[in-house]
């Protein structure tokens, strides 16, 4: 069951292009945080107990304790990189990736490109009709 605030923050999250973690930041996370993000990304949405179940499967030496997991989730949520949903017994966690930024090529290049492609298409069509 997701509350009205979850839905609201989800909506806001979708609009705000700068929220969420970029793949580069993801790669630079401390090991425990990165491993949790990887699990959340692959499973999409999980409760803490389900998450701990998968953490148990990590190789020894790379396996964070439950306290470390909770600490990591707290930091990730503070950054907006993990979204905490629901309340009390129903809490689940979800990874939040940053929107892929538009190419930094100038707007004019895109409109020129778009027009060119349009022209090429049309002349191709004409040729088809003639041939």
């Amino acid at each position: 069951m997701s509350g009205v605030f979850d839905r609201l923050s989800k909506k806001l999250g979708e609009k705000d292009d700068s929220s969420g973690i970029s793949p580069l930041d993801l790669a630079n996370l401390p090991q425990a945080q990165r491993q949790l993000m990887r699990i959340l990304l692959r499973e999409l949405e999980m409760s803490l107990s389900a998450l701990m179940g998968l953490v148990e499967e990590l190789p020894e030496g790379k396996r964070p304790t439950q306290a470390e997991v909770e600490e990591a989730l707290k930091s990730l949520a503070l950054e907006g990189w993990v979204i905490k949903m629901g309340e009390d017994a129903q809490i689940t966690y979800k990874a939040n990736l940053r929107r892929k930024a538009p190419s930094t090529l100038a707007q004019s290049i895109w409109s020129t490109l778009d027009a060119r492609i349009g022209e090429a298409k049309e002349s191709g069509l004409k040729k088809d009709q003639q041939g």
Binding site: A27, L41, R42, L44, K62, D114, G118
Partner: protein
């Protein structure tokens, strides 16, 4: 749930798309349920090997990323469109799906211009795995280490790095291997492609393994026959006895043996 296999190379043109298509086909032939997603949105290429052109292409990843269609609408079941390609015909009845990126110029410029929701891309990967009950999801990527590349590496169970056995490729591959190691990817394999036939392949394998301290899953020869195939069919299905195909099956067996 099925494994995610990312195929990378530091340089372009090393043979990622060909390797991905052939590995995926070999696994489908062996009875596995396999998906291939083309995340090279800026310069998609793998569709050609499955005989998919602009006319035949239905919905694409681009439309999915704009929220216009479901991932099911993007799936192209290879066995439903075998055409007359001799190699691909062997995939009749097999469970292989391609999730293509658009090859329409306008669509490509549009997505590069607008960007896209990366959460949706990831949800797409996970739906492919779950809803198609895949044993393997192959991710074909853009060369170099970009954002999509990093994301697909992080998500992977198996990362395959393709390299050419020359000096130019050495430094870049070393960087990619270093990044992969720092990300704790469960399994890493190197594949050498375009090796000159006059060299001793077991020697190449040993040298590359020593250089990078990682397992080489196969050494594939440079071959004119591949160029002649003009990327219009799945080479290892069409010419199963060819040395390239034999080496390719070795790579497939290596990956299949990963628990």
């Amino acid at each position: 749930m099925g494994k995610i296999v990312s195929i990378h190379s530091f340089r372009g043109g090393t043979g990622k798309s060909n390797t991905t298509a052939n590995l995926a086909s070999q696994m489908a032939l062996a009875g596995k349920r396999v998906g291939i997603v083309d995340t090279d949105i800026a310069s998609p290429g793998i569709h050609v090997l499955f005989g998919l052109d602009e006319k035949l292409m239905g919905h694409t990843l681009n439309e999915y990323l704009r929220g216009e269609v479901d991932i099911h609408d993007v799936a192209f079941r290879v066995s439903d469109h075998l055409g007359d390609a001799e190699g691909r015909k062997k995939l009749a009845g097999k469970d292989l799906w391609l999730f293509p990126s658009s090859i329409n110029g306008r669509e490509i410029s549009r997505i590069l211009h607008d960007g896209y929701d990366v959460n949706l891309l990831n949800q797409g990967f996970q739906s492919m795995r779950k809803e198609f009950d895949l044993d393997y999801l192959f991710i074909d990527t853009h060369p170099g280490v970009g954002e999509e590349t990093l994301l697909s590496m992080i998500l992977s169970d198996i990362l395959v790095i393709i390299l050419r056995p020359d000096q130019q490729d050495f430094q870049g591959t070393a960087v990619t291997v270093d990044i992969a190691r720092s990300l704790d990817i469960p399994h890493l394999r190197l594949v050498v492609n375009k090796a000159l036939s006059r060299y001793d392949f077991s020697q190449i394998k040993a040298t590359v393994e020593q250089t990078y301290s990682e397992e080489v899953a196969g050494v594939l020869p440079l071959t004119e026959d591949m160029v002649e195939n003009a990327s219009s069919d799945i080479f290892s299905l069409r010419y199963p006895d060819h040395p390239w195909s034999q080496a390719m099956r070795g790579v497939a067996e290596n990956l299949l043996a990963i628990p």
